[in-house]
């Protein structure tokens, strides 16, 4: 035994098995876990105060699970039946036992959902419940999540990490797999369409919250794992009581919406008019039975803690059963006898508002209460006494001690468990596993037993996560959604289903990649020269500075070029600087998370995130620029290697080519439009333009060491065998755009887009480089005329492509999405 076990006595088999690891080996496993989680970057984005995932899972033994599973499943059925009554007959309310405020004072009661029948009567397709294990070994329900339950994606990620870190324990302990549950969830979403009249089967999509919603990262995880498209409100169109997804190939019918947005945000016509999410006309469509929505509209009403005091009664009434998994003891303070008792010892209770609070009110726990000043305590009690009907009080839960790993020790902690269940046509299934949320017990602070309870709401405090391992009595079958035992689990994603919004993001990503590449190459050209001691004697430098940093003040350029360069490369607040583009690349990657490969994601997510230059001097900037350029090369290579040649790839390429063409034209213009007085400067300029335009090697191979204007212009403008030339970019654009829907070259007539591209290509092919090289005075007028003309042409082509295919306002905001690569879960 190499371990400092602060716990002397545990039934956690995982902990008891740890003695088979050396401490070094265990540390190594922990690093493996964190690597897996870091790659996915889910944890950091899910909640600002998340501190990671514990390597030690919560373990639930088979006998214990059997009872728990029944209880969780019953609650999922019960809340479904409750929703059915609330939006249907309301028979529970007609005998005077239940308060009318439970229905009609609740802002989450959705009037428009009244008497609307969901497919198969299922309101709650996915349910979650937070459960605590009490010191006496019994389980108690703390809170139910019945509208858009969160945490399923986190549970999946934690499972992937912990099971990969400890594969032998995972197998030998016979841990139940999660994949079967996800299959049931997916099957359930699919089957909802069976009740729709139309024979034409629609798609199952996940309607995600906006990109700046904290839940968005998890939405991407779920969409990827379930293999269904992630859509946003912009992707949806309602036409003639039917919901469609806008794609490049036109409108595609949607049959089921797995929604991750709140009730009130689903339809701006009938719900909140300011809702940015959802689709206009969705409610009418759902009413007509033309689209299934999971969870169904209106399920938010079920989440009030005001149901708790009545739930066991409701269970008898609706299901004719005893409530198996009881709630934490809860009283409605509108009942004066209860209020009196509770307020006599306020330090023992958790106070909650009964309904969603438009402000920022959080539950007041004993710990928080104890830390309040006497005046504040009195003020709170006064508030409660003034409006007792708006409050419930929950008894502090004495949570059983559990264990976690920190600083080389196994230490005591307390945990909450969130479990998930699905209701489908064929019944209710509970996920054998879940999301554990825990905190270490701080012994140094001598926490009292009363303070311990505040952990019942640790969701809001600084928390760590845990995987939950449910052990099986029998050997566990290997089954994964990614290696399906039977077919039709993972619908294939045809290229035509590319939502217009995703196409736009790929196009912008392509443009940004090219822009950052050109910026880094110009910056490198400057930095290399500045790091030479004799830089003041380099006449070409002022040209390059103007080419790259012209947006800055010219006086700063000449007086302190190094500072100007740093400002350009490093400053995040420089709107014309490189960091802005790099940030946008990373943001776009996040939005495209569900459409790009694992490796590409890794590079894009860390694009330009290299060690910042330390120390003064232009030379210090070079390693950073090198890192950006190698990220750029890696992404280009990975995209070429790993992306299938569908529309995804096409829009990325189109964006890159357009930006490359424009930037190269601008480079040629700024370095070659005027002729320096002396020949040395002229030669140095030619050298620089080749170097930045990445043509130096080719030039030397073809023409030897002699630099002349005409062949340089030819190489950069017209030479279609040079992949950096503008002609090459335009030829590639022609090739890719010809494959876009509605722009097929099979048509007899050329499309306007074809014509514009052909005009540019012909101009470049017919250009006489000798004529372009001619000078009038100090100016190459012919070259300037051609370059200006082509810049305008390419910009017009970009506009045409946007108008025809993209045409979506860019969405703002940052999200961090994630991955799922699944082995055994």
């Amino acid at each position: 035994m190499y371990w400092d076990m602060n716990c002397v006595d545990t039934e956690n088999i995982f902990i008891n098995s740890l003695s088979s690891f050396s401490k070094e080996e265990f540390e190594h496993r922990c690093r493996r876990l964190h690597n897996v989680l870091d790659e996915n970057d889910l944890s950091s984005s899910m909640s600002g105060n998340h501190k990671g995932t514990d390597p030690v899972p919560l373990v639930i033994c088979p006998e214990e699970w059997k009872k728990l599973e029944e209880g969780i499943a019953q609650r999922a059925r019960l809340f479904n039946a409750l929703a059915e009554d609330i939006y249907g007959e309301q028979k529970l309310w007609k005998n005077g036992k239940l308060l009318s405020s439970l229905l009609f004072a609740n802002p989450d009661f959705l009037q428009v959902a009244w008497k609307v029948k969901p497919a198969f009567g299922t309101f709650v397709n996915l349910a979650a419940v937070d459960v605590a294990r009490q010191s006496d070994g019994t389980f108690v329900a703390i809170a139910d999540h019945l509208q858009v339950p969160e945490g399923l994606g986190k549970a999946l990620e934690n499972r992937i990490g912990v099971s990969r870190a400890f594969p032998e324990l995972f197998r030998s302990m016979r841990t139940e797999r999660l994949a079967g549950f996800f299959k049931k969830l997916l099957d359930g979403l699919n089957e909802l369409q069976e009740s729709q009249d139309n024979h034409d089967k629609g798609k199952v999509v996940l309607l995600a919250s906006g990109p700046d919603n904290a839940r968005r990262a998890e939405d991407a995880v779920l969409a990827r794992y379930l293999g269904i498209p992630l859509v946003e409100n912009d992707d949806l169109a309602v036409r003639n009581l039917q919901v469609y997804m806008k794609t490049l190939m036109g409108l595609k019918k949607i049959g089921t919406i797995f929604r991750r947005v709140e009730d009130g945000m689903c339809d701006p016509l009938e719900l909140r008019i300011d809702s940015g999410e959802g689709a206009v006309g969705l409610i009418s469509t759902a009413r007509a039975g033309n689209v299934a929505i999971a969870n169904f509209l209106g399920t938010g009403v079920l989440e009030t803690p005001l149901f708790k005091p009545f739930l066991s009664e409701i269970c008898k009434e609706l299901l004719g059963e005893e409530l198996l998994l009881p709630d934490v003891e809860t009283y409605w303070l509108g009942n004066s006898a209860d209020a009196k008792r509770v307020l006599a010892e306020p330090e023992k209770w958790v106070f909650k508002k009964i309904f969603r609070d438009p402000g920022t009110f959080k539950a007041i726990e004993p710990k928080a209460y104890a830390s309040m000043t006497t005046t504040a305590q009195l003020a709170l009690l006064q508030t409660i006494e003034n409006t007792p009907e708006e409050w419930v009080a929950e008894r502090s839960v004495d949570i059983a001690t559990d264990y976690g790993y920190r600083n080389g020790e196994v230490d005591q902690a307390i945990a909450l468990m969130r479990f998930f269940a699905v209701n489908t046509k064929s019944g209710t299934s509970v996920m054998p596993g879940g999301l554990g949320i825990f905190q270490f017990i701080d012994k140094s602070k001598q926490e009292s037993a009363a303070a311990k309870i505040s952990k019942a709401h640790i969701l809001e405090d600084e928390v760590l996560e845990k995987d939950i391992w449910v052990l099986s009595e029998r050997p566990v079958a290997n089954f994964s959604l990614l290696a399906p035992a039977d077919q039709a689990i993972m619908p294939s994603r045809a290229g035509g289903d590319l939502p217009s919004r995703a196409a736009e993001n790929l196009y912008r990503l392509g443009r940004d990649l090219s822009a950052s590449n050109m910026m880094a190459r110009i910056a490198r050209g400057i930095a290399v020269r500045l790091s030479d001691e004799s830089w003041t004697e380099m006449p070409e430098l002022s040209w390059i500075l103007k080419a790259g940093l012209a947006d800055d003040s010219l006086s700063m350029l000449s007086q302190d070029p190094e500072n100007a360069l740093r400002y350009f490369i490093l400053r995040k607040d420089n709107k014309n600087g490189m960091q802005c583009i790099l940030t946008e690349i990373r943001d776009l990657a996040v939005q495209l998370r569900d459409r790009i490969s694992e490796d590409l994601w890794l590079y894009l997510n860390g694009f330009g995130v290299a060690e910042m230059p330390a120390g003064a001097g232009a030379a210090a900037l070079l390693p950073y620029l090198k890192a950006v350029l190698s990220d750029s090369a890696a992404v280009a290579g990975l995209a070429a290697d790993s992306m299938t040649r569908g529309h995804e790839w096409r829009f990325l390429e189109i964006g890159r080519e357009i930006e490359n063409a424009i930037r190269t034209l601008q480079l040629v213009k700024s370095l070659l439009s005027t002729v320096p007085a002396d020949e040395t400067t002229n030669l140095r300029l030619l050298q620089a333009v080749l170097e930045i335009g990445d043509g130096l090697m080719t030039y030397h191979r073809r023409y030897g060491g002699r630099l002349q204007v005409a062949p340089v212009i030819d190489l950069l403008l017209s030479d279609e065998s040079n992949p950096r030339s503008i002609a090459y970019q335009i030829a590639r654009l022609q090739e890719e755009t010809s494959r876009l829907p509605g722009n097929s070259s099979g048509e007899a007539a050329f499309s306007p887009l074809d014509r514009e591209l052909m005009r540019v290509l012909t101009d470049l092919r017919l250009a006489n480089v000798e004529v372009l090289a001619e000078t009038v005075g100090y100016n190459r007028e012919n070259l300037v005329k051609l370059v200006d003309e082509e810049i305008r042409n390419v910009e017009r082509i970009a506009e045409t492509i946007s108008r025809l295919y993209l045409n979506h306002a860019p969405r703002s905001g940052v999200v961090h999405a994630t991955t799922t690569e699944v082995s055994e879960v």
């Binding site: 009318s100 009609f104 428009v112 009581l241 701006p268 006309g281």
Partner: protein, 292 residues
Amino acid sequence: MPIYQIDHETVYDYNLPVLYSNHLAHMLPRQVSRQKWISHSIEVEPNPTARQERLDIFGNRVLAFSVEQEHTHFSFKTTGVVEVGEGEPPKAGETMPWEDVAKMILHPTSAETLDASMYAYASPFANFDNSVRNYALESFEPGRPLFDAAFELMTRIYTDCKYTPGATRIGAQPQEILRGRKGVCQDFAHLMIGCLRSLHLPCRYVSGYLRTHPPKGQPKLVGADATHAWASTFIPGHGWVELDPTNNVLGGCEHIILAWGRDFGDVSPLKGVITGGGDHTLRVGVNVDLKE
């Protein structure tokens, strides 16, 4: 009983084409005990693509429709003939004490009281705070019969507030109305509703029309030739009693009901979400003509 012909026209003109639009209308006739629709018709231009009629939770007939062809002109016209009678008002001093009603509403024991309880709580446009409650309490002395107190409250709102078009925004909350003491029929209805709900009493928002009188000796009723709004409260053993704080009268044969809900937001006569359209001009014309 008077018979009216009612013409109600809503016309939008846009300076750019609307690509498609979705609308919700609360203008289908609703039959109630004191009023009977003899005929009713609707004309929409351009022709709606999808059309769905349904009953909402308040019992109103709602028309949801979409227009999916490009248009720069949209009009929605209704024409109806309706016979309207008086309700029977409760007698002063004979209704239940208001506190007992509040208790019944919190613990409903019948479909009727459960339905009434729907209108007893804060809603998006009819919230309340302590100022509203204190204002209401001046009329609601302990044990006072509900009808007496409610009638007095209506009269106080009529006396305290000045009818001032344009003084308030659409959807001003009761406490704002109370502070400013001005507004239009919608605001006074919302204030009345907020007051009653602050005491846990049910009160609903009624949307409809008001008969116009030519100014001949008697004062002209405000709200003529436009849509009108008033309040209605539930009195157990009697039913719903309509109170019009804008005119200090009970709802009667000059109040023609279209729909009711918790507040204006539930029964807005015609609302829509449009895509495209640019700027628009709106014209609403209402005519209430006495036929016999």
